[in-house]
């Protein structure tokens, strides 16, 4: 299955990407850097920790991972052929 997002035309997401961004709550200081740098609105702060809200609009840029100086984010790629695909890249 694939889906699109109205605010991000020209992109499709392919189902099956799994949890390719993971949080280590013990390391998270709830600084919300990941929330601020994510254009795909993938993160939220809940109970004084950041967590993945949804990776449905993730463009796999890694900004959250670069921005996290606590070492709380583990970033990898979705499995081959899954995740976003750009139609006008």
């Amino acid at each position: 299955m694939t889906w699109t997002a109205e605010e991000f035309p020209g992109v499709e997401w392919v189902e099956g990407s799994g949890d390719f961004i993971r949080f280590d709550p013990d390391r998270c200081s709830a600084c919300a850097r990941c929330v601020k740098v994510c254009l795909g609105d993938c993160f939220e702060i809940a109970e004084k920790k950041a967590r993945v809200k949804s990776l449905e609009k993730c463009l796999e840029c890694g900004a959250c991972w670069f921005a996290c100086t606590d070492g709380a984010i583990d970033f990898s790629w979705p499995p081959g052929g899954k995740g976003y695909r750009s139609l006008w890249g």
């Binding site: 392919v14 254009l39 900004a63 670069f66 100086t69 790629w77 890249g89």
Partner: protein, 554 residues
């Protein structure tokens, strides 16, 4: 376990270049791509500067890659007060007519078709391409990289791994070659792609890029951390619009990238030329973004990280080679891919892929004049300083030095050095360069992009113009063949003198520039007519005329 001589990770701009070269040298080469289709995970279109084509891979220079539009100049809008429409213009960087637009300073391109075109050429040369495949880790034995592990758990053996993964560089971190970049080294490019008819793009933009610069408080461009800019690239039937933002601001804080929407609304809503000429004629068809490691070259610690380990070489963005100058990493990806392949081939032939052998790759990167210039330029840093001090004079000077004619004060040495080095290696490259500009324009005009890389017969000359072109390039080919030795010697002799080019331009440019701009102005009308004639000639000419004749092939 499957075994290959070379495994290339990533089929972006650099990967196929390295893979193709290794396969042509007779080595069993596999290229992995995580997208279902090549180029799907590369999102930001761009202008690839001319030096990438001139000094990069021969199969691109002599081939017919898919380009969106030649780029022949930049109009910089320095927005002092957007509400009052108080805007200064610096449009000094342009290829002069009648040479433009046939001669371009770069070519605008979408990444997806371009990377796919490159990958197709690599496959034709014997590279095995495996899409929908992620290299999740390296296989290490006694600290030596011996292959990769893919996302389905397969282990693929390789005598050497060429890592072209991109700026995130996860595989390089896992291999212990590099560290994750700090946020101040990273910028996020936010891209809007607007559909527009070709007639409208031709009429309103031609082949000229438009960059907008403004003060932070106007909120029309992201406060980058180092610079400030909004950029519009005219494509064939679309406008590609980019703003980018460093992940760390001057105060060391992280900006909210969600402000991108507001900047975009403010700049497009506040510019009369956008509202009147463009807004009624465009439709947004894509909005994407990606991170890139634009400031690695300005950080000595990050810059000093190695680009190789036992059994593995890093190229392009994976090696931190993004240009701070132009927000563009394609030429450096091509140059490093070729150098990596050369070193890998030598290593495989010598039966030694150890770090001590591969070290020469890092030495080549450090000695490459254009790579070093492009990753080390401080123009964005300078712009940020002008922004902080709110010094209009400085802002204009730095824009002029980065995206205007002032650039020749710092680009002359690396360019002249590379031109001379290229001629010293192969004098015949001169005519390849001439033919490339003409062929690219002819291809663009006819939308003819394919796998042809060589003429099958002698160039066809039907008209007088075509006969003149064939005569000139043919004579040059013959002359360079006959006098190749002396030409090489002269180029080698002159090469060290290129070091003086930047200092000389620093002194001469303030004198030459006003005269040059005056000359362009007074010759505008006749030069424009000549340019139109040149365009008609190139568009109407038989395409074989601009390909390298079989008799001159190596």
């Amino acid at each position: 376990m499957e075994e290959y001589d070379v495994v290339v990770v990533g089929a972006g701009f650099g990967g196929p270049v390295a893979a193709k070269k290794c396969a042509e040298a007779g080595f069993r080469t596999l290229m992995l791509e995580r997208g279902e289709r090549v180029g799907q995970k590369v999102i930001s279109g761009l202008t690839i500067p001319f030096y990438g084509f001139l000094f990069g891979p021969a199969f691109i220079r002599d081939g017919n890659p898919p380009i969106e539009r030649p780029a022949d100049g930049i109009i910089n809008y320095i927005v002092k007060d957007i509400e009052k429409g108080d805007i200064d213009i610096d449009d000094t960087l342009r290829v002069p007519k009648p040479l433009s637009p046939v001669l371009a300073f770069g070519y605008n391109a979408y990444c997806q078709p371009f990377c796919e075109w490159e990958a197709d050429r690599a496959v034709e040369s014997g590279v095995e391409l495996r899409t929908s495949t992620v290299a999740v880790d390296v296989i290490k034995e006694d600290g030596f990289v011996k292959g990769v592990v893919t996302d389905d758990g397969s282990r693929i053996g390789a005598k050497i791994v060429i890592d072209a993964e991109g700026c995130q560089g996860i595989l390089a971190i896992k291999a212990g070659v590099r560290e994750k970049y700090t946020p101040d080294a990273i910028s996020l490019a936010d891209v809007y792609d607007y559909e527009m008819s070709k007639e409208d793009v031709d009429r309103i933009f031609g082949s000229t890029l438009r960059f907008c610069w403004g003060w932070d408080e106007q909120r029309i461009a992201p406060p980058l951390g180092y610079g400030n800019g909004l950029m519009v690239w005219p494509y064939r039937e679309s406008l590609h619009f980019i703003q980018d933002q460093c992940l760390v601001t001057d105060a060391g804080r992280l900006p909210s990238l969600k402000d991108f929407d507001e900047y975009h609304r403010n700049i497009t809503g506040g510019l009369d030329w956008w509202q009147e000429d463009i807004a009624p004629r465009v439709r947004l068809r894509a909005r994407v973004w990606d991170a890139f490691e634009i400031f690695v070259g300005l950080d000595e610690r990050l810059k000093a990280m190695p680009n190789h380990t036992d059994g593995m070489i890093l190229i392009g963005d994976a090696a931190g080679l993004e240009s701070t100058e132009l927000c563009d990493g394609v030429p450096a990806a091509w140059f490093s891919a070729e150098m990596a392949a050369d070193v890998a081939i030598d290593a495989l032939r010598a039966g030694d892929t150890s770090s001590s052998f591969l070290r020469r790759y890092d030495e080549l990167i450090k000695a490459h004049p254009i790579i070093q210039w492009s990753i080390s330029r401080t123009n964005r840093h300078d712009l940020r300083y002008a922004q902080q001090t709110h010094d209009e004079k400085l802002l204009k000077r730095y824009i002029h030095d980065g995206w205007g004619l002032g650039g020749f004060k710092h680009v002359s040495t690396p360019l002249i050095r590379t031109i001379l080095d290229s001629i010293a290696e192969e004098p015949g490259i001169l005519t390849s360069w001439i033919r490339m500009f003409f062929r690219y324009y002819n291809n663009w005009h006819h939308q003819r992009f394919d796998g042809r890389t060589e003429a099958e017969s002698e160039p066809v000359a039907r008209t007088r113009g075509e006969r003149v072109f064939k005569g000139i390039t043919g004579a040059l080919d013959r002359g360079l063949k006959r006098f190749g030795g002396p030409v090489k010697t002269v180029a080698r002799f002159l090469a060290p003198a290129s070091a003086a080019a930047n200092p000389v331009m620093k002194v001469l440019l303030p004198v030459i520039e006003p005269l040059y701009l005056w000359l362009l102005k007074v010759t505008e009308a006749p030069a424009g007519r000549l340019s139109d004639r040149l365009v008609r000639f190139v568009a109407d000419a038989h395409p074989s005329l601009f390909e390298r004749p079989p008799t001159e092939r190596k």
